[in-house]
């Protein structure tokens, strides 16, 4: 059994975002980068699966040298092999997926995990695109998962509830908060990760169909009004909501 986890390297969610000088990216000055939070659930699930059923685990990330930090974190948590698909330039979701799919195919994965979305571009698409390119079924936004033999049962979050979905291996799962509690890397894990070699190769070159024209700040919201500083302001608030905003 080969298990692949795809991860991205993103700015910490507490980061204030400023647009860079060329107007096409964020200004990374002083920005702390982390493992994409949803990918931690993917890493944990891959490790749990290996502990239960055996197999070999791989972490794959597409990006520049900085992504090695995120790969190392996954290795320290216990993933066996690290692969960096090198490409520093802007890619649309489909071209990322094409490069990942080519790599996953050559590994020969039976089970592939992604976080349900990366918190930078927020497309929530690369896992699904990759699944389709691999010809594998997909279950996204998963909060509970069981794999018995080749039978896969998962619960995924939808509006106002959950769906229980059945499929079979090989398949792609995208993970949501609530699926598990990601472990911390142990000291032993961190030491072991230092000895693991991250395999680096150029990412498959493919054309973008979606060009990035510009990044901009959202329109500033005008500061609102303080209606009052105690309970006596409540009737006025209700009046404003009713007559000015017309929302109640």
């Amino acid at each position: 059994m080969k298990i692949v986890v795809c991860v991205s390297h993103v700015p910490d969610t507490a980061t204030r975002i400023n647009v860079s000088g060329d107007g096409k990216n964020i200004d990374s000055t002083g920005v702390t980068y982390i493992v994409n939070p949803y990918d931690e659930f993917a890493i944990e699930e891959a490790l749990k699966h290996k502990e239960k059923s055996g197999g070999e685990t791989y972490v794959v990330s597409l990006g520049g040298d900085a992504n090695k930090e995120t790969i190392k974190k996954a290795l320290a948590m216990g993933i066996d092999n690290g692969i960096l698909l090198k490409d520093d330039s802007y890619r649309d979701s489909l071209s990322v997926a094409k490069a990942l799919a080519a790599e996953i195919k050559s590994i020969g994965a039976d089970l592939v995990f992604f976080g349900k979305q990366s918190v930078d571009y927020d497309s929530s698409a690369v896992g699904q695109l990759t699944a389709e390119l691999l010809g594998m079924p997909l279950i996204s936004v998963v909060v509970a998962l069981s794999v018995e033999g080749s039978k896969v049962t998962a619960e995924r979050e939808i509006e106002g509830g959950k769906e229980v979905i059945e499929t079979t291996l090989p398949c792609v799962i995208t993970t949501q908060k609530g699926l598990n509690e990601p472990r911390y890397a142990s000291l032993k894990g961190i030491m072991a990760a230092k000895k693991k070699i991250i395999e680096e190769k150029p990412a498959l070159a493919v054309a973008n169909y979606v060009e990035l024209l510009q990044m901009k700040r959202p329109p500033a919201k005008e500061s609102g009004k303080i209606v009052g500083t105690d309970v006596s302001a409540v009737p006025e608030l209700v009046r404003l909501l009713r007559e000015e905003a017309k929302v109640i």
């Binding site: 969610t13 997909l138 229980v164 979606v210 959202p218 303080i226 909501l241």
Partner: protein
């Protein structure tokens, strides 16, 4: 011939409201690009498909099979991609719901299409197709240009106005298909009992750590019920285990844009603001006058939530 297709999402045979927003946008894009517009719905028995006519879409194809009654990502993607093939240039439009988030990218991969998810604005004509979408949970926006002949676009719900229904009826064609690609299928749907979901609600009342304990969320629930609103929560209270993650609003929870968002005892960490700042009207109730939530609020009351909220419930009861 170029074509714009809009996917009408049904659950239990009923079309979702956000799909009509998407229908209006699809018709507008078709007008601006000189294309034909058609709605496509996948399901078994579906009510009132002719209503797409209300939103300027004159034709609906109902792709029908018993096994389409319940959603299946593989079956829906195969059926829709097959239907979309044939036109030289195609735009496929969806509302960005949990269903479309899952299977629109599958359709895009099948059609080798450029994809833009969760769009909040667009600017198109016969030569250029530009879409604006939020990134970093709304802390920034990007403008992207889709250059491929086939394009897949999902639209953030509650952003585009579906407009007044025109009263026109669409012509409905039923296309029975014999095969369904059921590699993945829904075997059960579990509804959270009687609860509105923050992702779909047009009013949300959210509570934060300032409420001091999970037991005080009854205040939030009561106000939400009075307003017909969904209950939301900040990350701090979800991480503390007071509320379920499905209620979390913010960068690692849900991004919402309701008409009314009431933040109670939430200070407004940057990752929370990112998830709700595009709400139409924001009310903040917080003891700390310097709390960042007041910077995005339209109306604020600086004060103790335990005093303000019960009074607010009372006042709202009065006007009903």
């Amino acid at each position: 011939m170029s074509k714009v297709l809009v996917f009408l999402e049904q659950r239990n045979g009923i079309i979702k409201k956000a799909s009509f927003e998407a229908a209006r946008v699809a018709a507008d894009i078709a007008g601006k690009t000189g294309s034909e517009v058609e709605a496509v719905c996948i399901g078994d028995e579906i009510e009132s498909l002719e209503k797409a006519g209300n939103f300027s879409v004159p034709a609906v194809t109902h792709i029908k099979n018993k096994d389409f009654a319940n959603y299946s990502s593989s079956a829906y993607a195969s059926a829709l991609a097959e239907h979309a093939q044939g036109a030289s240039e195609t735009v496929v439009v969806f509302a960005n719901t949990s269903m479309a988030k899952e299977f629109a990218p599958l359709v895009a991969a099948k059609l080798d299409a450029g994809l833009a998810m969760d769009a909040t604005a667009y600017q198109v004509d016969s030569t250029s197709f530009i879409v604006t979408r939020p990134v970093y949970a709304g802390k920034a926006l990007i403008d992207v240009k889709i250059t491929s002949p086939v394009k897949v676009l999902t639209l953030r719900p509650n952003v585009f106005n579906p407009g007044e229904p025109s009263g026109l009826k669409a012509a409905v064609t039923v296309k029975e298909v014999t095969k369904a690609d059921l590699r993945s299928k829904v075997i059960e749907t579990k509804k959270a009992e009687g609860k509105l979901d923050v992702a779909e609600a047009d009013k949300i009342v959210s509570g934060g750590r300032g409420l001091k304990g999970p037991e005080h969320f009854t205040l939030i629930e009561e106000l939400a019920e009075e307003l017909g609103a969904a209950v939301g929560a900040s990350r701090a209270v979800v991480d503390a285990g007071w509320r379920s993650h499905s209620e979390q609003v913010g960068q690692t929870g849900k991004t919402v844009s309701p008409n009314l968002y009431i933040a109670v005892a939430i200070s407004g960490a940057i990752q929370h603001l990112a998830g709700m700042r595009s709400s139409k009207y924001i009310v903040a109730i917080n003891k700390d006058k310097d709390a960042p939530i007041f910077q995005v609020a339209d109306y604020g009351i600086v004060g103790d939530a335990f005093e303000i909220v019960p009074e607010l419930i009372k006042e709202i009861k009065k006007i009903k």
